[in-house]
Point group: C2
Chain length 507, copies 2
């Protein structure tokens, strides 16, 4: 006879302890959000120590022997948890996270958090002043600490494995590399075909002079029409847009308003809202437990990409928002029609900045970063040589010269925050989004028509059913089987890019 | 021979542990700030649990037996700390706080924090909708928990002693009561004299229609001219203005913009900036230690009152800001002269809302609250009867009828957050401010002339020397001896009010 987990004191103790661990993590997330949106500049040093303290205590709690004993008792055969039950998933997720945490000394975790916080502040200054040398010691420190972190998980096939696993649980480096290489191979002919027809479409409709206040009102209005619960989110400006969730009723979206390029705030806003929709879709009753969060960053990114690219850059969506564009941004949109807006939103043009890249070349930016990270961690590259390697690969993949480090190696916050292993999940997320879209179309019929009718809630419900409501109940590979009907496969994305851009560029 | 504390491992361990305790407290302060300025409404439940977790863990750390052993070893005669040294003060402050914390069970602390957070959210709704019944259970729960809290400190002379001690360390209820009764006795003839001449001055100069954006620009400009470090503070709107400090370079000020009453944002803004100046003046090297904060709420309030009333409502200050008022708020200030502005800023008029009260009747609002709190905790009054008692006393002290609870018992956040024992520190702060002003005038000469020359930094330096730089090195009674030359005495405040308002109202 199985025990009843709902009244099992061990299971209750696990949830109670995990609630505390979760609160510490969410509090830390709020401190990080505040640091990047609200904090006066001179608060950086104090914030680094506060974040480090929360990270250290969270880690202590996670590695507490009493918790481990509870987890071991619950995951033993005697506990008799129903296979494939929610409770079994909760215990397995807790076990996995505790096991990983117990390998990493508390002090190292604290140092990583403090170095990340200091690194972010140093990066913001260095990027603003194009001053790589002032940032380099922070970068080196982050790499050194991540190497120490990785070493805690030896043995492994590749020293990058434990870093990638932090963001994409269970994904081996070899599989990520193979998947992303297939994607890159498929992209080459598309990028070449577009390059031959580079003046086929122009993006002037989304270029001009746009007041920040107008952009903000527009974006707020657009996010209000997305399936996100009213009064449960906010939107703030920052340097490097991100989304974070503080509780099930509290999603924080951020964006950056470019005075001459409306598409940046528009699509980064929809992107972050996509992350927020996933976070908000994890059921409240799971939130403070071991599976109360999205299952991986690639799945997270699949949601942001889906709302940004598959919904946001579609003809019916853009047609639908044209009246609001005219209302909030005035005369300059009077002469723009839906087709023109669609073409402007889908220009493919190799560029220096990842977050401004189009749907096609974006994945080349990721290839560049992923390969540099692999080289850093298998010892083929030193931090001091990173800027030069960045320039070389930018020339090779994108055909562009990097004029300064702010447009090169200093453009992203990730490494400043010690987040090595994060970048590949962006392209993996693009791949998942394409596979999801095909699956959704099978279930729901013509999605473009649905978008045209403004029925975004139907799509959110489908995603909620397939992805959101499970939280981290399933490991990414299992969720892929369940939600996509098979493993990650770049073919759906390549089909989409060939079809869409073949039509737009006429190849 | 004395040991050298800088290299004593116990002393170092104390500072290291206290750094963590301090970080947890500051993180909690940021969560509370966010809740009242930024958080989407539906984040309240999650926030309550996050704040409770941080409070519980901070309390655990503070009551840890290992910390207590360190403190006991350091405070024993063997440790040989130099009497009256900084190190001795650090150890004594740590001992006092640990001792207090060890009397209160961790679970009770967590419950108090969670009930306070839920109470604040319930209060905000109840106040907006004038719905006392929906808030009453939260109020009752807060009172019940504070009674339990107080009981942890038995025996005491008065059950209110441990509550007051939380905000005003070492101050017995009997002394606070006697001091505030002397103040009230002295106020009665002043209020009566003003009442007989109530139409002597009018405040129309500060009434009208003021755009929130204009008010915000004005107040930001005014705070920029105060002696607060540039780039180390921010100002945000909230319901019930407060100031908080997240680190030595990160002061958060808040205010509320009343569309028809400029004086509210103006003087509450200067008030909160005064709190911020004190916080920013605690030396960075003390910040994360046991004396790294202001010594008491009365001293804190003395600083806010000093900048609000003694500087902000003075003729030379108002004369100095008139050009900025004209610049930011336009034509309606063209016809106002400095004398008119001064009179408008110093109208005395009994009113229902404490935070809008003038410098004289403000203390009657405090008398009312202090006496109701005493009655609640010595058992003479139940929470359910509070609204009625409020109405009666408002009639008696202020001669006004309370039209609804939003203008009565629901107006303040304090009880919603469980902060009983806090209110008397406002009037005690007024008393200290007056004594400080007399002491500063002795040292610096004519302060009005100094303000007229815009030399606010000189005043801040003097306050820094007397008060700010010590943090909580001295208990309030000792700091009073050192900074004021004697104990708290309402005479200086009464002298000021008689003089200033006698002149303004001609009595």
């Amino acid at each position: 006879m199985n025990r009843r987990p709902s009244i099992d004191p061990d299971y209750q103790a696990l949830l109670e302890r995990w609630g505390e661990i979760s609160d510490l993590g969410r509090a830390r997330a709020l401190l990080a959000w505040d640091e990047r949106t609200m904090m006066p500049a001179s608060g950086a040093e104090g914030r680094a120590s506060q974040i480090a303290t929360l990270a250290r205590i969270r880690h202590e709690r996670l590695t507490d022997d009493g918790l481990w004993e509870i987890v071991e008792r619950l995951s033993s055969a005697d506990a008799g948890l129903e296979p494939d039950s929610l409770e079994e998933a909760v215990v397995q997720a807790a076990r996995r996270e505790c096991e990983r945490a117990r390998r990493v000394p508390t002090d190292l975790r604290g140092e990583m958090a403090a170095a990340a916080s200091r690194g972010e502040s140093a990066w913001a200054r260095a990027r603003a002043e194009d001053d790589l040398p002032s940032f380099l010691p922070h970068l080196e420190r982050n790499i050194e600490l991540r190497r120490e972190f990785g070493a805690c998980f030896a043995p492994y096939e590749h020293p990058y494995d434990p870093l990638l696993d932090e963001f994409e649980p269970g994904m081996p480096t070899a599989l990520a590399r193979e998947t992303l290489q297939r994607l890159r191979a498929g992209l080459v002919p598309i990028v070449e075909a577009v390059a031959e027809r580079s003046d086929a479409i122009d993006d002037s409709a989304l270029r001009g002079r746009f007041e920040v206040a107008d952009q903000k009102r527009l974006l707020t209005g657009l996010i209000r029409r997305l399936p996100l619960r009213e009064g449960a989110w906010r939107l703030d400006p920052t340097d490097h847009p991100f989304a974070t969730s503080i509780s099930d009723g509290d999603v924080r979206l951020t964006t950056r308003y470019e005075p001459e390029d409306l598409s940046f705030a528009l699509f980064s806003g929809l992107h972050e809202a996509g992350h927020g929709i996933y976070e908000a879709g994890v059921p409240a009753e799971l939130r403070r437990g071991p599976i109360g969060h999205p299952t991986s960053l690639a799945f997270h990114e699949s949601q942001s990409r889906l709302w940004e690219n598959w919904v946001g850059r579609s003809l019916p969506y853009l047609k639908g928002i044209l009246p609001l564009l005219r209302e909030e941004l005035g005369v300059q949109f009077d002469a723009v029609d839906a087709e023109g807006l669609y073409r402007a939103a889908n220009v493919v043009r190799p560029s220096l900045i990842r977050v401004e890249a189009d749907e096609v070349t974006y994945n080349l930016h990721i290839a560049l970063r992923f390969e540099l990270e692999l080289a850093l961690f298998d010892g083929a590259l030193e931090a001091a040589d990173l800027a030069e390697a960045w320039r070389e690969r930018t020339r090779e993949y994108l055909g562009l010269d990097v004029p300064d480090d702010a447009h090169g190696v200093l453009q992203d916050v990730h490494w400043a925050a010690g987040a090595f292993g994060y970048f590949p999940t962006y392209s993996l997320g693009n791949i998942i989004a394409a596979q999801l879209w095909e699956a959704a179309a099978e279930d729901l019929g013509d999605l473009d028509e649905m978008i045209g009718r403004g029925e975004l809630e139907t799509l959110r419900e489908w995603l909620g059913e397939r992805i959101h409501r499970h939280g981290a109940r399933y490991m990414p590979a299992e969720l892929a089987e369940r939600a996509l009907g098979g493993p990650l496969d770049p073919e759906a994305l390549l089909r989409r890019l060939r079809g869409k851009y073949g039509e737009l560029y006429g190849f």
